[in-house]
C-alpha cells in the first residue's frame, strides 16, 4: 500500500523530469530531424494557447474568441524587450524575463477587457473578445515604431525545445494548481451556474478577472515564444484565423480538460503539418473541423473529464480514500 502511494506520488514528477532530459538532449545531440523538432515546438506553443483558452471557455464556460489578440500583445512586448532593451549578449539569459514581460502585457490588456465585460456572457463576451482581437491587430498595424503593417524583426532565435518544454510544464502546473484549489473551484462554479455560485459565496467578479488574466498571461508568453521561434512577426499572424485555430484545438481536445488541451493541440498541429501538400486548402480545415465538432461531439475528445496523472497528487489521494470508503459500504466503485 505504501509502495503504491509512493509511485502514485512520484510518477508524474519523474516523467516530467525525464521529459526535460529528452527536451535538452534532442537539440544537443541532434536526435531528430530539425523539422520534427520545429513541429514539437509548435505543439508546445499550441498546448500553452489551448490550455489557457480552455480555462476561460472550458473550465469557466465562457466563450472568448480572440485569444490571438493576447498572443499578439505578448509576442510584440517580448520582442521589443529582447530587440530594443535587452543587450544582445544577455538575450539568452534574460529571455524568460522578456517572456514574462510579454505575458504581463497581455495580462494587463485582459484586465482592461475583463472589467467592462463583467456583466457580459455568452454572445456578448464573444463579441467583446472578437473586437479586442481586431483592435489589437489594428493598433499594431498603426504603430510605426514596431514596424506597423510590415511586421517586426530582429529577434534572435531564443526559443529552443527545452525552453518550450519548461514553459509548457509551467503553464500546465500553474493552471492545474489553480483549478484544483479554492480560487479555481470558483471557476467551475461559474460554468455550472453563475447566480448560484455568487449565492454560495463565490466572488464571481474576482474569479472572472483572475481567470481572464491568467489565461491571457500564458497566451502572451506563448506569443513571445512564437515570436522568438519565427524571428519575424506580423500583425496578420495574430488575426481571427489564428484565434479560430486555438478554438478548434480547445473544442477538439475537450472542454474543461487539461489532457484534452494537450491532445487537441497535438492532433491539430500534426494534422496541419501533415496536410501541407494541400496548400491553402488546408486552411479550410480549421473552420470545417469546428463546425463538425459542434455538431457531432460538442464536448470534444475528453469533454469535462481529466486524466488522473494531471490531478494533483494530494487531491488524487483524497478522492482515492473516499472511493475506497465507499467501496467498503456500497460495493465496488467504478473507474
Amino acid at each position: 500500500m505504501q509502495q503504491a502511494s509512493w509511485t502514485s506520488r512520484w510518477a508524474m514528477p519523474l516523467a516530467v523530469l525525464a521529459g526535460l532530459g529528452l527536451a535538452w538532449a534532442i537539440p544537443r545531440y541532434e536526435l531528430i530531424n530539425p523539422y520534427y523538432e520545429l513541429v514539437l515546438m509548435y505543439i508546445g506553443i499550441n498546448i500553452m494557447l489551448t490550455v489557457s483558452l480552455n480555462l476561460v471557455n472550458g473550465h469557466m464556460g465562457e466563450f472568448a474568441v480572440g485569444h490571438a489578440g493576447f498572443m499578439a500583445v505578448g509576442a510584440y512586448v517580448a520582442s521589443v524587450l529582447t530587440v530594443r532593451l535587452i543587450p544582445w549578449d544577455w538575450g539568452p539569459v534574460l529571455f524568460p524575463l522578456a517572456l514574462i514581460g510579454g505575458g504581463t502585457g497581455a495580462g494587463i490588456v485582459a484586465l482592461l477587457v475583463a472589467i467592462p465585460s463583467f456583466r457580459t456572457r455568452g454572445d456578448y463576451l464573444a463579441i467583446v473578445t472578437l473586437a479586442l482581437n481586431m483592435i489589437v491587430k489594428s493598433v499594431i498595424e498603426n504603430i510605426e515604431a514596431i514596424g506597423g503593417p510590415r511586421g517586426f524583426l530582429g529577434m534572435n532565435r531564443l526559443t529552443t525545445l527545452p525552453w518550450v518544454y519548461v514553459w509548457v510544464i509551467v503553464t500546465l502546473w500553474a493552471i492545474r494548481n489553480f483549478i484544483y484549489s479554492n480560487p479555481g473551484r470558483g471557476v467551475l462554479a461559474i460554468r455550472e451556474d453563475e447566480v448560484a455560485a455568487e449565492l454560495v459565496g463565490v466572488r464571481t467578479r474576482e474569479v472572472k478577472v483572475r481567470a481572464f488574466i491568467l489565461s491571457a498571461f500564458f497566451a502572451g508568453v506563448a506569443g513571445g515564444l512564437f515570436a522568438h521561434l519565427l524571428q519575424f512577426i506580423h500583425p496578420r499572424n495574430f488575426d481571427i484565423i489564428k484565434s479560430t485555430e486555438i478554438l478548434v484545438m480547445v473544442y477538439l481536445g475537450g472542454i474543461g480538460s487539461l489532457m484534452g488541451s494537450i491532445l487537441g493541440a497535438s492532433i491539430f498541429t500534426v494534422l496541419l503539418e501533415a496536410l501541407r501538400f494541400m496548400g491553402v486548402w488546408r486552411m479550410v480545415l480549421a473552420p470545417l473541423l469546428l463546425v463538425l465538432l459542434m455538431i457531432l461531439r460538442p464536448t470534444g475528445i475528453m469533454g469535462l473529464r481529466e486524466w488522473r496523472g494531471l490531478i494533483p497528487a494530494d487531491e488524487r489521494w483524497r478522492l482515492g480514500r473516499l472511493r475506497a470508503r465507499k467501496g467498503g459500504t456500497a460495493g465496488a466503485a467504478g473507474d
Partner: protein, 257 residues
C-alpha cells in the same frame, strides 16, 4: 431581531411585486413565509440575498443593512439559501458542490494556490473533511463522488441544504424545500429542518406550500398576497384569519367553507 425588513418595495415595470413588506425574523426562530403562487415570496428571498435591489425600504441583518451589497457579500455576512428550482452545480461531484461553498472560508490566497503550499494542502484536507461531515448529516456521504445531476430529486434538495450550510450561515432561507416530495418525504424533511436548526444553531426562514408542514414546524408565519403582507402571527392566528382564507380559497370558497 436577526432579520428585519422595513417597508420593502420592488416594481418590475408595471407590476408592483413587493409592496411595503415588513418582516421580522427573531434569532433562533423558525419562521414561515407563505402565500398563493405569484405572491412575491421568492422575490422577497431574492431581495434579501441581493439578487434584486429594492426600489425602497431596508433589509437589516444583525443590525446592518444588506441593501446594495453583492450576493457573495451577503453570504459572508451569514445569509444562505436554497432555490425553488434546484440550482446545483450539476456536472460537478456532490463533494465539489459543498467544497465550492467554502470559497470565503478557505483562508489561503491565489499565490499559495499556484505553489500548492503545505498550507493549501492542509486547508484542502480540512475543507474536504468538513464537507464530508456535512454530507453525512444529510445521508449523502456515500454519493460524494457522483455528479450532482445523477442524484434523485429528494437528494438534490438535501444537497442544496448541505451546500447552503457549508457557508456557515446565521440565517438559512429555504425556498419550497418540500416541492415535489411525497407525504412521507415531507414528514422526514420537517424533522430534518428542525434538526438543522438545533444542530447548526441557524435561524430558518421557510417558503412552503405544504401547509401541514408549515403549520406544524413554524413558530411564526407571515402571509403574502399580491406582494403585500396580509397576515402575520402564530400558525393558529394565521389559520383562522379570514383574509388568509380568502387569499387561498377566494371569496366564494370561504363562503362555502
Amino acid at each position: 431581531m436577526l432579520l428585519e425588513i422595513r417597508d420593502l418595495n420592488l416594481r418590475f415595470g408595471g407590476l408592483h411585486a413587493v409592496r411595503n413588506v415588513n418582516l421580522q425574523v427573531p434569532e433562533g426562530g423558525l419562521v414561515g413565509l407563505i402565500g398563493p403562487n405569484g405572491a412575491g415570496k421568492t422575490t422577497v428571498f431574492n431581495l434579501i440575498t441581493g439578487v434584486y435591489q429594492p426600489d425602497s425600504g431596508d433589509i437589516r441583518f444583525r443590525g446592518r443593512s444588506l441593501v446594495g451589497l453583492l450576493p457573495s457579500q451577503i453570504v459572508a455576512r451569514g445569509v444562505a439559501r436554497t432555490f425553488q428550482t434546484i440550482r446545483l452545480f450539476r456536472d460537478l461531484t456532490v463533494l465539489d458542490n459543498v467544497r465550492i461553498a467554502h470559497y470565503q472560508r478557505a483562508r489561503y490566497g491565489l499565490w499559495p494556490a499556484f505553489l500548492r503550499t503545505a498550507r493549501v494542502l492542509d486547508r484542502e484536507q480540512q475543507i474536504t473533511e468538513r464537507s464530508m461531515r456535512l454530507l453525512e448529516v444529510f445521508d449523502l456521504a456515500d454519493l460524494a463522488l457522483e455528479p450532482a445531476r445523477s442524484l434523485p430529486y429528494g437528494a438534490q434538495r438535501k444537497l442544496e441544504m448541505a451546500r447552503a450550510l457549508a457557508t456557515t450561515p446565521r440565517l438559512l432561507l429555504l425556498d419550497e424545500p418540500a416541492a415535489g416530495m411525497n407525504p412521507a418525504e415531507v414528514g422526514q424533511l420537517a424533522e430534518l429542518i428542525q434538526n438543522i436548526r438545533d444542530r447548526f444553531g441557524v435561524t430558518v426562514l421557510l417558503i412552503e406550500h405544504q401547509m401541514k408542514m408549515v403549520m406544524s414546524i413554524c413558530e411564526r408565519i407571515t402571509v403574502l398576497d399580491f406582494g403585500q403582507v396580509i397576515a402575520e402571527g402564530t400558525p393558529e392566528d394565521v389559520r383562522n384569519n379570514p383574509r388568509v382564507l380568502e387569499a387561498y380559497l377566494g371569496r366564494r370558497g370561504v363562503a362555502m367553507a
